[in-house]
């Protein structure tokens, strides 16, 4: 594995290996922001959610050279990224995610949150933890990708956070 592998290349490689092994896993979290923002934000955490037994995924990652380091991450001696499997379900707050995005490339395939759900995921962290870094990440994705703003607004109302949603709106490029 090359040392300067990008988030997208690595996610494609892992996605392809998981798919070959019959494991459906969805990429969530900060690495989706990296992919959708063309690395304007760089995450070294690749967080996956799968409904399969994690042990099956462990075998796949071991074959790629990633070893479980007992601190809940899989690490690779020649690669700066950490892989983690989060507990299902795939949800943002109590909204279940049924449709995920698929990106295909020469190196493989990535199943990940849609740009709209990625923005919601980041905004959720901003709403609950007041984390302005998450707001910045939501804006990076929203300004680079086609998103469903009305859908996000409805969700923000349900989350009782319309005031913070308005702050997000102000950061959008017109």
């Amino acid at each position: 594995m090359k040392k300067d592998i990008s988030t997208k290349e690595l996610a494609s490689l892992i996605g392809k290996s998981l798919e070959t092994a019959g494991i459906e896993a969805v990429l969530v979290g900060g690495s989706c922001v990296s992919i959708y923002s063309s690395n304007k934000y760089q995450s070294y955490d690749l967080d996956y959610i799968t409904y399969e037994n994690e042990k099956k995924a462990t075998d796949v990652l071991n074959k790629l050279g990633f070893i479980y380091d007992s601190k809940k991450y899989y690490v690779h001696p020649k690669c700066p990224y950490f892989i983690e499997f989060l507990a299902p379900p795939i949800a943002i707050g109590n909204e279940l995610i049924k449709n995920v995005n698929t990106i295909k490339s020469r190196s493989g395939v990535i199943k990940l949150l849609s740009p709209t759900d990625c923005v919601k995921d980041r905004l959720s962290a901003y709403f609950y933890w007041n984390d302005t870094q998450s707001l910045e990440q939501a804006l990076l994705v929203a300004n680079d990708q086609k998103i469903h703003l009305k859908n996000i607004e409805k969700w923000a109302i349900k989350e009782d956070n319309i005031e913070k949603f308005k702050i997000f709106l102000k950061g959008l490029k017109s």
Partner: protein, 111 residues
């Protein structure tokens, strides 16, 4: 009360405690319930891995809270709130609803 369901007596203690006290740290729980710190930490770690709780570093202490972003947090809270009602009052008062001072006290002020 729920240890047979969860296979671990500390899980209900942690969640009941967080429902009534907002946040906690390992040593605080170990002392409160007179159980080993290692056991408490393993339970906190297990709940964090399950996404039910989250942690923050505050100074040198790792502080834990219920995760408001957990998909089933409303349902889980309802379940534990109902289960809490079944606890005897002396258990509630001894472990979960202590009347310790929680409002601020200015630095250096005598008790």
């Amino acid at each position: 009360m729920l240890e047979r369901l969860f296979g671990n007596e500390a899980i209900e203690k942690v969640i009941f405690y967080l429902l009534k006290n907002d946040s906690c740290f390992g040593k605080e729980l170990a002392e409160n319930f007179d159980i080993s710190l290692g056991y408490v930490q393993r339970t906190l770690y297990k709940l964090e891995r399950a996404n039910v709780i989250v942690s923050f570093q505050v100074g040198r202490t790792r502080v834990f809270k219920l995760n408001p972003r957990y998909a089933l947090i409303k349902e889980l809270t309802l379940f534990f709130e109902k289960a809490y009602e079944f606890l005897p009052d002396d258990i509630k008062n001894r472990y979960y609803e202590k009347t310790a001072r929680k409002r601020p006290r200015r630095t250096g002020k005598k008790l």
